[in-house]
Symmetry: C2
Subunit: 399 residues, 2 copies
Amino acid sequence: MAKKITGNNQYLKELNKAAVLDLIRQKKTLSRKELADLTGLSPTACGSITRELIKDGFLYETGQGESTGGRKPVMLELKPNSYYAVGFDIGMNELKMVIADITASILLQRNFEYSPGISAEKVIALIRDKFFETIDSEKLSTDKFIGCGLSIPGILDRNTNKIIIAPNLSWNEVDLGTEVSEALGMPAFIENEAMCSAICEHWIGKCSNIENFICINIESGIGAGIFIGDSIYRGYTGSAGEIGHLIVRENGRPCGCGNRGCLETYASIRHMLEDINERIRKGYSSDAIKPGTGALTWSQAVDAAYNGDELCNEVLRKGAVYIGYAVAFLVNTLNPEAIVLGKCFTDYAPLVMDTLVETVNEKSLKYPVSKVRMLTSEFGMNSSALGAAMIPIRKIFGK
Amino acid sequence: MAKKITGNNQYLKELNKAAVLDLIRQKKTLSRKELADLTGLSPTACGSITRELIKDGFLYETGQGESTGGRKPVMLELKPNSYYAVGFDIGMNELKMVIADITASILLQRNFEYSPGISAEKVIALIRDKFFETIDSEKLSTDKFIGCGLSIPGILDRNTNKIIIAPNLSWNEVDLGTEVSEALGMPAFIENEAMCSAICEHWIGKCSNIENFICINIESGIGAGIFIGDSIYRGYTGSAGEIGHLIVRENGRPCGCGNRGCLETYASIRHMLEDINERIRKGYSSDAIKPGTGALTWSQAVDAAYNGDELCNEVLRKGAVYIGYAVAFLVNTLNPEAIVLGKCFTDYAPLVMDTLVETVNEKSLKYPVSKVRMLTSEFGMNSSALGAAMIPIRKIFGK
């Protein structure tokens, strides 16, 4: 709107600063002349903005670029290790911490285990303790931190910025952002876990040049983070992406949501593992699963599948078929450029990707499915913590 | 981006003109002072823009508003009957035409029947003949037309602006926009039929203040038009909204798309009518459907349902249940503010709305479903033609 353009110079300057930073981020290195050409800003305005950004430690001058005639230009780049962000992924039995600088380079990654059922208060204390321990030992100063991102396995309300419900944590109505912000002394932003993974894919992963994509996380639940028009899509009140309750079988298995036949009951790792262990309890054995083997863990089941066990492969493939149903509906409905599957899915992707792609091709309309790229995340279980750390970083680039 | 703000005054002026027009559209009537306050434009800039808009016939001065102290201000409104747009909905056996002015007031509406299987060439000739006949008899001049919108029951490619496939018309790869534009001598825009209905709901219907909503059309097929962030959502290549092929029954009925158990095979009016007539053929009768009655038409079947016929009610209700499954997935995945159901659905909405809402409540997650409004369109079969006419109109308001 015109108001922003003519009425508020400070706002405009901040917008232009973010635009300058984002251009340098995308192009990696730019001269002041190239910046002025690309932004349409006057050389004076460009000079003033870059001077401030250098002074504040966001940019630095780095050697000289190619000359296009006269003097070789000085090049500008994002300054590494000047400002940091911290991201936390709050899982059912583990807190993952990531510290990254504004170039999105990962400084460190740590995991801290806890027992399921942990209270929000204890998680906040753990975040505070582990954060300050870590920056002390790394000799980082808090005033170098631009903010904190928090990945939550649950539904958030964008208006109140609270956690509405996080079933796997048994948390309701928690104002985690405010409390962590106070504990760490920096801005803190909460975000749904699958959306954090989508942010990770968009900022540093396979979807960095993709405007419309869906990131699907397979874990004990199944959720999606959606990007539309190069922006996070959260929906009317912030709960978009809950794809795990698509009914894939009428009158199918009972689900925790109260319905029957939900995608999660066939394709989440919790339910797939239950299926496998139930058959083992009933006496199933194979070359990979010897008689008398007790209940398998997830990684044992995946290993058995890689070792050719039929049951484990069958269950994983059946899960992939049902994920294919959901993906097909998403392809038909949203016509995305890419679908990226991650978290536990990366553990067994090589075993089921053919089945999944075949199902998606078969169950989607020909035109949209011919346009979509099916991808596997390269970040495995770390995508949400990485994405959480990127939330404050994105903000300085105006995203 | 900064470029637009500082580098291109003509572009900026057009943006400001559109913003001024859109504000007046939304507020119905505004003084120059109110406009300057709301836009942040200087009184001089505001005066210059409104002067041009009055000269060009988009605005007019209308009496005097409430004084807030000094002289009573002159008020500005959109000028009715100054510029028009024409919309065509190309159906399987009928062309619907709508002419509206820039205030979105409908000047006339006409329907022209034809036989199924009509060629694109014949439809273009019909559009040309009927348009010129009509404006001659209405004494309208073509230079008062800002453009034409075309509603197409098929998949479009936004890059080539062509129809990829329109199954019910048996058209492939038709460049209808270009050809109609040449035939009528004005810009012509093609748009998917369900998206045209969504545009209608957003511009003049129940969703005019709703940023995120989904408009679902039930006809011989089932499709959706999606608005996200107050804008049309088309997806990566323009085919978003094809919800009719959600698999609601594994290994269910065969569908024209090659799959089995698609939503359309249970809930489209074509299939519901087939179900009813098959039972009648097998001897079904009731108080509303006497023995010996032949195959029913759609409107006879709906009448029978209103007259209490059990079979017709059962089939319509079953269709509504399956639509409920699709709506529930859309609610979980996109967390929209509203779902509006239209086209043939308006014929029987009073009979099934309870069943539909009950299913959606049952099959969705509690939080997003508590936020969604379930609506029925007020435009019936006319929503696509009306929406098509709104496409060129929206453009002068910068949409």
